[in-house]
């Protein structure tokens, strides 16, 4: 084996190993010894073991995380996986073209550290982690199979990340998204973008979308959404029937699980929760402050903030997150079941209800948060922004103002994927929960 010294652009000397015989030089680390698996294992254990009374039916999800993230065994075999970078990629079209969408947004700190190589220092953990995950082909089991990555042109960091992903050797499909959503121009622009994508998918999966395959695909996601909505509505119950940390585990599993299995597992859980509801079973302390979680998405294993909230005696009863509610709540409406109408219906569903802060005007998000606070009898809102996520940080003050004007207390938390602020965060979260309890007591 030869060694070469290379001076990189930043001036650091980097030693490069040049192997003459890759077979003897390579060392493949067992998946359960990777940093990802260690991270996943530790969060999974915390979620399972630190809380009493997890529903029986949650075991399906815990086992799924164990399999995929701790042992590195994918749920897929020969399926044509299409990677997606964002909640705005229409899954129905991918399913209709015979592919399987897998959402690539990573929540791993290890990936975040790897991804830092490609991005400026003060950038978003989620985007960095996604790059880190894609750059390291041995890490996550479904990554090896991803050839194409669909990147909607949303925030600056994701858009520019698309180009870096292309340099890594993936095929990147940039799906053009308008910066506003209310205007008719934006709607037409987006519809054209979606139509173009539906045609281009033939090159990605090798299959043409037909009227029947699309109708079937819409039915498939609708069944999943129906199951989710049921779960969503069950969370309105007092006392609460389920902890929010489990809901994040469920919605997050939708990123990478087989959709039919996922839907069946959620339906099964819903039955168990109905039972809990009848028995007046409480998943948290009866007077636990009810929290609405919003802002930068909670993605496994970076669930430190949701878990802290519930360890401190709060219960997350609702969320406004693109890794959860925003991904599954809104259903497609189709006027007539012909090709053009179905694609338009899909396009509208992925634009109009979206409350992502990348849109120039976003009063929808304010209205949605206020409505949800009332519907779910919320005592306080926790607003997470990842350091470097400009859009969520910039929307913070106006969102906070409207919520506080409605008398809803808000805790702002700026954090990232690194676990080193846990001590400090726990003080803030506990103080917030204590203040909500004090407020409730005086009512």
């Amino acid at each position: 084996m030869n060694r070469l010294l290379m001076v990189t652009s930043s001036g650091w000397k980097k030693e490069i190993k040049v192997s003459n015989d890759p077979k003897t030089d390579e060392k493949k680390t067992a998946f359960n010894l990777t940093h990802q698996a260690i991270e996943a294992e530790s969060m999974l254990r915390r979620i399972k073991d630190d809380f009493p009374d997890n529903p029986e039916s949650m075991n399906y999800f815990y086992d799924l995380y164990q399999q995929v993230y701790c042992e590195g065994r994918s749920v897929y075999d020969k399926e044509k996986i299409v990677g997606t970078m964002c909640v705005q990629v229409p899954e129905e079209l991918i399913y209709a073209a015979g592919g399987v969408p897998v959402r690539l947004c990573s929540g791993f700190y290890t990936d975040d550290q790897h991804g830092a190589e490609f991005m400026p220092a003060k950038s978003c953990s989620l985007v960095k982690a996604t790059l880190g995950m894609l750059s390291n082909k041995s890490t996550l089991p479904f990554i090896n199979k991803v050839k194409t990555v669909v990147s909607p042109t949303t925030c600056d960091q994701k858009r520019k990340a698309g180009a870096i992903i292309e340099e890594m050797g993936y095929d990147v499909y940039n799906m053009e998204l308008p910066p506003l959503k209310e205007s008719e121009e934006a709607r037409l622009y987006w519809q054209r973008s979606i139509h173009k994508f539906s045609v281009s998918l033939k090159e990605i999966t090798g299959n043409k979308i037909t009227k029947d395959s699309l109708k079937k695909a819409i039915g498939k996601t609708a069944a999943a959404q129906k199951a989710y909505r049921k779960l969503h509505n069950l969370r309105k119950e007092t006392p609460p029937v389920l902890l929010g940390k489990d809901v994040f585990m469920i919605t997050n599993a939708y990123f990478f699980d087989k959709i039919e299995n996922w839907t069946a597992a959620v339906n099964k859980l819903n039955e168990e929760l109905e039972q809990r509801k009848e028995e007046k079973f409480s998943a948290a302390q009866r007077r636990a402050p009810r929290i609405l979680f919003t802002g930068s998405p909670a993605i496994f294993p970076n669930l430190k903030l949701p878990v802290l909230i519930e360890e401190s005696g709060g219960v997350i009863v609702a969320d406004e997150n693109c890794s959860s509610n925003r991904m599954l709540y809104d259903m497609i409406t189709v006027d007539e079941w012909n090709m053009s109408n179905m694609v338009d219906g899909i396009a509208d569903n992925y634009l109009k209800p979206c409350t992502c802060p990348i849109f120039t005007n976003n009063d929808d998000r304010k209205r949605k948060l206020i409505n949800m606070s009332q519907e779910f009898a919320v005592d306080g809102v926790v607003y997470q922004t990842f350091s470097g996520c400009q859009v969520y940080s910039m929307e913070q003050s106006s969102i906070t103002k409207v919520l506080r004007d409605e008398g809803i207390p808000v805790l702002l938390v700026e954090s990232d994927y690194s676990p080193d602020d846990m001590g400090q965060l726990s003080t803030r979260v506990e103080a917030f929960i204590e203040s909500l309890k004090a407020k409730k007591r005086r009512k």
């Binding site: 400090q424 003080t427 803030r428 506990e430 917030f432 204590e434 203040s435 004090a438 005086r442």
Partner: protein, 269 residues
Amino acid sequence: MNYFAGVDIGSTAIKIVLIDDTKNIISSKVTPTGSQFRKNAVDALHAMLADCNLAFDELAYVISTGYGRKLLKEADESVSEITANAIGAMEAGREHGVINTIINIGGQDTKAIQIDESGTVTNFAMNEKCAAGTGKFLDVTARNLEIELEELGDYHLNLKTAPLPINSTCVVFAESEIIGLLADGHGKEEIVAGIHYSIAKRTIRLAKRVGLEGLVYFDGGPALNKGLVASMEDELGKKIVIPDFPQITTALGASVLAYEAYLDEMESA
């Protein structure tokens, strides 16, 4: 007579306050946290009780708070230092009026807390991650200038010229900036005052996030530093309430909460 203790285990010091059932302070103690902070906290509590001729089981209720709150198994329960600070400030500040905003500078963090007339926290802000502008910063400054931490206030008040602008907020970089300023022949007074104004500016900016209406109360170890207090008042443009013992407010709050928890328990029993 029943006794109640609040134990505040901070990053730098352990503070203990003992009150009786008229909420009178019987005794208080400040001791370094050290590495074995659980042992140090228990030892300090026992030493304090011995001074007062009290046995441990004469304590009706103990509440722990601060970074080490969850590890003190001797406590009946723990509360976050923000809640404890709010109650303590309301009690300690009562003679000055109704406190609206609390600014607390600790060993490793800075907090601004807004409270209502009942001492309930209505809003708060805390420095993220970085410990810039906290007690640690003052500690490092004093060490660099080879003066005692307690002398910083006097150096500040002896200032004859204008304070120097200090640009680094990072403790590590500030250290080299200070060395540079000393090498350029600047006096210790100018540097100390510069540090104080830079901390004050940063702290008031944080406090503005929760609002600065009404009476502002400043506590934590650094509130003992008269130079820093003067700079904070200059930055804020008004007088600040400083309690007689700024280090023990949070422990006092915890002891008052212990007293209230005991009353609740008796009522429901």
